[in-house]
Symmetry: C2
Subunit: 138 residues, 2 copies
Amino acid sequence: MEENILLRQLLRERKLKATSTRLDVLAVISGYNKAIPFSEIQNSLHDFDRVTLYRTINSLMKSGIIHKASVGEKETFYAVCSSKCSSDSHNHKHIHFKCSNCKAVTCVQADSAINFAITGHTINNFEIEATGICVSCN
Amino acid sequence: MEENILLRQLLRERKLKATSTRLDVLAVISGYNKAIPFSEIQNSLHDFDRVTLYRTINSLMKSGIIHKASVGEKETFYAVCSSKCSSDSHNHKHIHFKCSNCKAVTCVQADSAINFAITGHTINNFEIEATGICVSCN
DNA sequence: ATTTTATTGCAACCTTGTTGCATTTAATGT
DNA sequence: ACATTAAATGCAACAAGGTTGCAATAAAAT
Ligand SMILES: [Mn+2]
Ligand SMILES: [Mn+2]
Ligand SMILES: [Zn+2]
Ligand SMILES: [Zn+2]
């Protein structure tokens, strides 16, 4: 109810109608504190149509509010974007880390900036997916 | 016909029967010289069942002959493994690069080894997918 | 309060990939 | 070359994940 106001604002800033579906979905995703698997969103909210959920997720992604954080091929994970993302462009410089123990997927920063070159190629963007053991499991 | 012998050998080494399906699929994939999209394999070879193609690709992957080279979420790409891969383990230390101009996906080495750390985390493995402009388009 | 415009639900569909089972094919030993 | 064995194939059926068209509904703007 109270926090709702913040989410409402966020949606309006990105020129999305603040519908109850979007508010609910957004609350679940941002309350999760790590990347959330699609099924987890679905289970938390079985009061609207499958199709609506897909469409909601798509519009949240297009407007730079959330992003996919897929590691491995299986289920799709979603995470809230940093404030630097907008409707125009997603702008992440972090790593998607999957803990092989607890299976959690998180967005983490590397300790120092990662740079590499490939002769003859122009690198415009890159994504890193890492697996290992996370902080809590260590 | 002549090269067939090499592919036959390769399959036998990995303890796979050298069936004509496998020889055909393998010839297409290794003749492509970059990562090949699934649909491209399908189009080159419409003489056997869809299911067989899936099963063939799976056994080639399990035995360390080819690997997935997916960049972005859309279609799945496959590429031949370096000789270092076996039935036991895939062992790639390269980058999957997608050219935003010609759309080709290639397996490339970075100019120098890539290393990074994440405080509190143990990193066991990572994958890098990069986008940009490839050699031929540059 | 009314109009405008975006979002939702539903049903139908598509793509990608998998499974069970009977049939065929490749490898192995004679 | 022939029979035996074990693996691979085709077919039909299924399942998960995701999309589309369209009429009904809800949010925003006037
Ligand atoms: Mn992320
Ligand atoms: Mn590769
Ligand atoms: Zn963990
Ligand atoms: Zn190119």
